[in-house]
């Protein structure tokens, strides 16, 4: 039964919240990877975009862990806040991505649909993470981790090559950050729920 002791506190256990967050982050990253691969295959072949995409993600300034040791040493509240910060930082670009991608010449339906789906699911994951942080955090939820995105003009450039590179770079960063979130959530779940014994 969902609420065994009807009178008592009827809420989802933290483990269940983490299971759903991990499943959702996995789905978002799956979509982000597919979208990047489709775009790369269709619009980026032979344009050398990867060389230019180096160090150009708007979330690069967030001090996210870059290896296993860093991911294991960071306090879980700090890692949760970083995840929230990355998710928040993607709200704005995902709104514009979903609308601007419609204007790409012959953009396949599969890319269009994924852009809208990721925007929706990102909001849903943000809602879930705020719930998890509320449960885990002793203090207030730290709302100020956030990096602004000023990439909209580059998605609307007249020159096609520059505009396609702007999309490529945004999708490359989305694939990277959604993978980070998925990885960190798995590490947190194993640490907080399974005592590092997943």
């Amino acid at each position: 039964p969902i609420c065994p002791n009807v009178s008592g506190n009827c809420q989802l256990p933290l483990e269940e919240l983490f299971d759903r967050a991990v499943k959702l982050s996995r789905y978002i990253h799956f979509l982000a990877s597919e979208m990047f691969n489709e775009f790369d295959e269709r619009y980026a072949q032979g344009r050398g975009f990867i060389e230019k995409a180096v160090n150009s993600c708007h979330t690069a300034s967030l001090a996210t862990p870059e290896d296993k040791e860093q991911a294991q040493q960071i306090h879980h509240e700090d890692l949760l806040n970083l995840i929230l910060g990355v998710l928040r930082s993607w709200n704005d670009p995902l709104i514009h991505l979903a609308s601007e991608v419609q204007r790409i010449k012959e953009a396949p339906e599969t890319i269009l649909w994924k852009a809208v789906e990721i925007e929706e699911q990102n909001k849903r994951l943000l809602e879930g993470m705020e719930k998890i942080v509320g449960r885990v955090h002793s203090g207030e939820v730290d709302n100020d981790i956030y990096t602004p995105w000023d990439g909209l003009p580059s998605l609307q450039l007249a020159d096609e090559d520059s505009r396609l590179f702007a999309f490529y770079n945004l999708l490359h960063c989305l694939r990277r950050d959604s993978h980070k979130i998925d990885n960190y959530l798995k590490v947190l779940k194993c640490r907080l729920i399974h005592d590092n014994n997943c």
Partner: protein, 210 residues
């Protein structure tokens, strides 16, 4: 007399994105009775009213995407009111993940083949229900099939996990079989209805197309 206590029958979500609840109206003793569905979310004092009484037909409430959260438990009640007073149902707790009941699988195909040792075997293939297929990864489905000889009593049920095809070896030539498949979300949730019955006859002198 005020109306009797209404009862919430069930709540279901077909794709973990929206959900609907149905209730059995209280017997109204001849007076015109009005029903209101109210809900609150875990950890919140605020009480909300049903966002949409129409979409899912009479005595129902439809929660669209905007009103569906899968991070919380809903506490739902229905109040019946007539001119003599009102009565409230027992609370019905809903966690959307637990009430997902997909539609049955579709595009089921049955094909007879012969193994290298001339023994007939059946290859079944199917597709996820359209609503779930679009979001593979968000809604992971598991499948179970059942078959029995047409005149037989007992179904043989086989759980095939997340695969969408299956080979059946132990079939008796000369028999006509009924086959059905249903599906369920991989963790929580409910089995779909069985797919419509399909029939396959295993010929006695079975020649395979070379």
């Amino acid at each position: 007399l005020p109306p009797e206590k209404p009862t919430i029958i069930k709540c279901r979500s077909p794709e973990k994105e929206t959900f609907t609840c149905w209730w059995k109206p209280a017997s109204d003793g001849g007076l015109s009775t009005n029903h209101t569905l109210l809900y609150s979310k875990e950890g919140e004092e605020k009480v909300y009213e049903c966002p949409d009484y129409k979409t899912a037909g009479p005595n129902s409430c439809y929660f669209d995407k905007k009103h569906t959260s899968f991070w919380t438990i809903y506490n739902i009640t229905v109040r019946a009111t007539n001119e003599m007073g009102s009565n409230v149902s027992d609370p019905h707790y809903v966690d959307v993940t637990y009430i997902v009941q997909p539609d049955p699988p579709v595009n089921i195909t049955l094909e007879l083949k012969k193994s290298t040792k001339r023994k007939p075997y059946l290859v079944l293939t199917w597709s996820p229900p359209p609503l779930a297929d679009v979001r593979s990864g968000w809604l992971t489905l598991e499948y179970e099939l059942r078959l029995k000889p047409e005149e037989g009593e007992e179904w043989e049920t086989i759980f095939v996990g997340q695969q969408t095809q299956c080979k059946m070896f132990s079939l008796n030539p000369g028999k006509r079989y009924i086959v059905q498949i249903h599906c369920k979300p991989d963790h929580h949730g409910l089995w779909s209805e069985w797919s419509p019955e399909m029939y396959i006859e295993i010929p006695t002198d079975f020649r395979v197309k070379d």
